[in-house]
């Protein structure tokens, strides 16, 4: 019997939204799925060798639990994004949640295929040398070629 398939479109480049594609990708691969993740727009940030620029902001993110109530005026101050990111990373670590780098490596080890959207790479003038090596480049039709035949198809 042919393997089941899952396709994910990853469009977000913030720390919180970076997790679902890598968690679901690595898990599906562990369950025997063939997995492809198509990275487009801000999702391309998740392909950088260095993921330290993937951050989280409490700004315009009212659902984010904060240790103390924080007015929007305060959230706007310089350094708040770095601070929120540092706190979130500490929280993730404390709870035994893998880092993005680790989950991404687990995906690659399990042969999850990463496809970067060529159009948005060009649009944002990304330098491909800043991306990890295991990336293919393609467009919407490339995605459809795989996605058209999947059991699970998600947009993140």
């Amino acid at each position: 019997m042919a393997n089941k398939k899952m396709a994910i479109i990853a469009t977000k480049g913030t720390l919180d939204m970076a997790y679902p594609p890598f968690i679901l990708g690595s898990t599906a691969a562990a369950l025997g799925y063939d997995v492809q993740i198509f990275f487009t727009f801000y999702g391309l940030q998740l392909l950088r060798k260095d993921l330290s620029s993937v951050m989280i902001s409490p700004l315009a993110n009212p659902a984010m639990p904060m240790p103390i109530p924080m007015p929007v005026m305060v959230q706007m101050l310089p350094g708040m994004e770095s601070m929120a990111t540092m706190m979130m990373k500490q929280k993730l670590k404390k709870h035994g949640v893998a880092s993005l780098e680790e989950l991404r490596d687990l995906c690659l080890e399990a042969d999850v295929k990463f496809v970067a959207c060529q159009m948005t790479v060009d649009l944002f003038e990304f330098d491909k040398s800043e991306f990890i090596d295991n990336v293919e480049y393609g467009g919407a039709a490339t995605f459809m070629n795989f996605a058209g035949d999947t059991d699970i198809c998600l947009f993140v």
Binding site: I23, T27, A30, H95, G96, L103, E109
Partner: protein, 75 residues
């Protein structure tokens, strides 16, 4: 219960217990038993779901002292 290999997944959160279980099973042979120890409450349902979808047999799930112990037999 007898087992051939042990995986210590204490302190790991989703999806690590599942992904590491899969990796541990990879270099085992059919019929061998993997013991997995997890502290992640979500892993109880997840290990059952893993077994159901991969065809490996979840022989037993036991909770002792706040830890979950699974015995998974490789397909």
């Amino acid at each position: 219960m007898n087992f051939d290999k042990e995986l210590n997944a204490r302190g790991m959160s989703c999806p690590l217990p599942i992904v590491k279980t899969k990796k541990s099973l990879a270099d085992m042979t059919t019929g061998q038993v993997l013991k997995v120890i997890s502290t992640d409450t979500g892993s109880v349902k997840d290990m059952a779901a893993f077994a159901e979808q991969t065809g490996n047999a979840l022989l037993s799930t036991v909770e002792e002292n706040g830890e979950f112990v699974f015995y998974m037999q490789k397909k």
